[in-house]
């Protein structure tokens, strides 16, 4: 009962943040549009028609066509699928690694803690992009490699976060109570402590999706992200690199550019709203 009213309270606080609500609406819109892409356009995003290259927006091609004569509207929709899944899957990977390792380190402490946190330091202290470039250029660019790289390189932050929460919660009354009545450790960890650690994790995961989308765009810019011909917002933007396209064919870079910007912006709004909603200090202020 307490749990329910708690999340209701959070939701109510979240709703008070107008930017966060706006972000959430936009986010849902983008997700829906990407999921239902095939119903929104008849064009195959990868089918090129060289006779229709570089066309400005028109009734036939809402957003115009690119230098291969592919429909940019279709590519933006399908690109959303790829960009969003890169963001979600990579955060999923980093969360699963981070949660398990962070929980183990925080709950058991001692040797576990030292070794895991040392490994986290290894990952944490290296220049993300340079390592990402190294790995992705070596294993070859592909959607899956991009997801894995982004996921594997970012788990330490969620591990650290969870570890800190665990250290804090381990000694709270209910965890101690659970242990004293003989519940096994993993049960204590995942049934009792984890739900309480979820709020900071959710915030960091949300922001993680935003930064993964940006990282994918950066990798694609260097030709190391999602490889052609599949569209991602990052590689679409990369195709608009030549200055003559930048100067005279804005329809090629505006849609993916705006899409990245808006989606990252709204994810940030949502993340910020969540943080405020979860933060008990904010409650005190009210």
């Amino acid at each position: 009962m307490k749990q329910i009213s708690q999340s209701k309270k959070i939701w109510r606080r979240f709703c008070r943040n107008k930017l966060a609500i706006l972000g959430l609406v936009i986010l849902i819109f983008f997700v829906l549009v990407s999921v239902f892409a095939p119903f929104l356009t008849n064009y195959d995003p990868n089918r090129s028609n060289l006779r229709n290259r570089n066309l400005p927006p028109s009734g036939d091609h809402l957003f115009g066509t690119d230098d291969m004569g592919r429909d940019i509207f279709a590519r933006t929709l399908y690109g959303g699928r790829i960009s969003l899944s890169v963001g979600l899957v990579s955060v999923g990977i980093s969360l699963s690694i981070g949660v398990v390792l962070g929980a183990v380190a925080g709950f058991f402490g001692g040797m576990f803690d030292t070794v895991i946190m040392r490994i986290a330091d290894v990952f944490y202290s290296f220049p993300f992009m340079i390592l990402a470039i190294t790995i992705s250029s070596i294993f070859g660019p592909s959607i899956y490699n991009t997801m894995i790289i982004l996921g594997i390189l970012s788990w330490p932050s969620s591990a650290r976060l969870l570890r800190a929460e665990f250290l804090k919660l381990k000694n709270t009354d209910f965890a101690l109570a659970a242990t004293t009545i003989g519940a096994n450790p993993s049960r204590v960890m995942f049934r009792h402590i984890l739900p309480n650690a979820i709020s900071p994790l959710l915030v960091s995961a949300t922001l993680g999706v935003a930064s993964a989308i940006l990282s994918e765009a950066g990798l694609s810019f260097l030709g190391l992200g999602v490889p052609p011909p599949a569209p991602s917002w990052g590689n679409m933007l990369n195709r608009a690199r030549p200055l003559h396209i930048l100067a005279s064919m804005p329809w090629m870079w505006l849609p993916p550019g705006i899409a990245i910007f808006v989606i990252v912006l709204s994810i940030n709004f949502v993340g910020d709203g969540l943080r405020d909603a979860f933060d008990p200090r904010q409650v005190m202020n009210e």
Binding site: R118, I119, D121, V122, Y124, S125, F126, P127, F128, M129, I130, L131, A132, I133, T134, I135, S137, I138, F139, G140, A210, L214, A217, G218, F221, L222, G234, L237, R241, L243, L246, A247, W253, G257, I260, F261, V264, L265, N268, F269, D272, R281, M284, N285
Partner: protein, 319 residues
């Protein structure tokens, strides 16, 4: 304090670096591609020459021997010779490009912190004011634009359309070496790289200051009738700046990563282009050298952040 630093270097730094270099070397040697790819197409070449080259570079040996040799060199403070045809010492290749990357990164940090901190303070001081909303909005915008795209747009506007700033490079041969001259070249890349840090520093500063302002002792101070400006600038600020110092350590990797992309756009003669070139050519010693050097720099950055934290806050003592 010194004992703490030494302990961190030996107990944390060295094992971490060892593990990292081992993994990295393993990855680059098992990956497809070979350092002698550039010999493709050389007329009248026979396999003996390629084999001879491979033996000379040592890449005909198993991984463990290669890594062992590399590590041996490192212990003698030698990064080895580059694998490309010029066979130059890796330390020279890195040394030549290091200044450009350092200048770019440092300037961006200065820009990010120089603007981000005051803006963050004002934004917290006047929380929920129009100013605060504008700043918050722009900070969000700043962290939501892909940096390469921002760079291209700057390039397009300032160099191509208005023709007021150079399109890239560090300096042109033959131009007089003036301060303003260097600044002109530095402006666009630094702005591109710094935008993100301005935004995130301002955000962190704001929330850190707000957190401190809600602490009991400041409430008490206010209750005692102290003016808000004195509360904010004299009492709260010092404590709010502390967490920001640790942020410095964490932002270093981000700055270096961003530099790779920015250098690529602005023909900036830094380590980024060397790194990409070395990767494309499977130039093992150069890849290792660059990654190792960044790793050491970032590690030192985190120690400095910790130490300065301790200096700033007398309650913290490292044993």
């Amino acid at each position: 304090m010194w004992r703490y630093i030494i302990r961190r270097i030996f107990l944390q730094g060295i094992p971490v670096l060892l593990g990292f270099t081992f993994l990295l070397y393993l990855i680059i040697t098992v990956a497809p591609g070979s350092p002698v790819t550039h010999l493709r197409g050389v007329p009248d070449l026979d396999t003996a020459v390629i084999a001879q080259r491979e033996a000379q570079l040592g890449i005909d040996q198993p991984f463990l021997i290669q890594y062992g040799r590399w590590l041996g060199q490192i212990l003698r403070l030698d990064l080895g010779l580059s694998f490309d045809s010029a066979r130059r010492p890796v330390i020279d290749l890195i040394g030549e490009r290091m200044p450009a990357t350092i200048i770019l990164s440092l300037s961006s940090i200065i820009l990010g912190w120089g603007i981000g901190i005051p803006v963050g303070i004002l934004s917290a001081r006047y929380q929920y004011s129009v100013f605060d909303y504008i700043i918050t909005f722009f900070a969000f915008v700043g962290i939501s634009i892909p940096s390469f795209f921002f760079g291209l747009v700057l390039l397009y506007m300032f160099a191509l359309t208005w023709n007021v700033l150079p399109a890239g490079g560090f300096f042109m041969a033959g131009e007089p070496h003036t301060f303003v001259g260097y600044i002109r070249y530095l402006l666009l890349p630094v702005l591109t790289l710094g935008l993100g840090s301005i935004a995130s520093v301002a955000r962190y500063m704001r929330s850190s200051l707000l957190e401190v302002l809600n602490e009991d002792y400041l409430r008490t101070a206010r209750a005692k009738g102290l003016r808000e400006n004195i509360v904010v600038y004299k009492h709260a600020l010092r404590n709010a700046l502390l967490p920001i110092l640790t942020l410095m350590g964490f932002m270093l990797p981000t700055i270096f990563s961003g530099a790779v992309i920015v250098e690529n756009i602005f023909t900036w003669p830094g380590l980024g282009s060397l790194a990409i070139q070395a990767l494309n050519e499977r130039n093992y010693p150069v890849i290792m050298g660059i990654n190792l050097m960044f790793a050491v720099l970032i590690f030192l950055g985190s120690i400095i952040a910790d130490v300065s934290y301790a200096f700033a806050d007398p309650r913290i003592r490292y044993e």
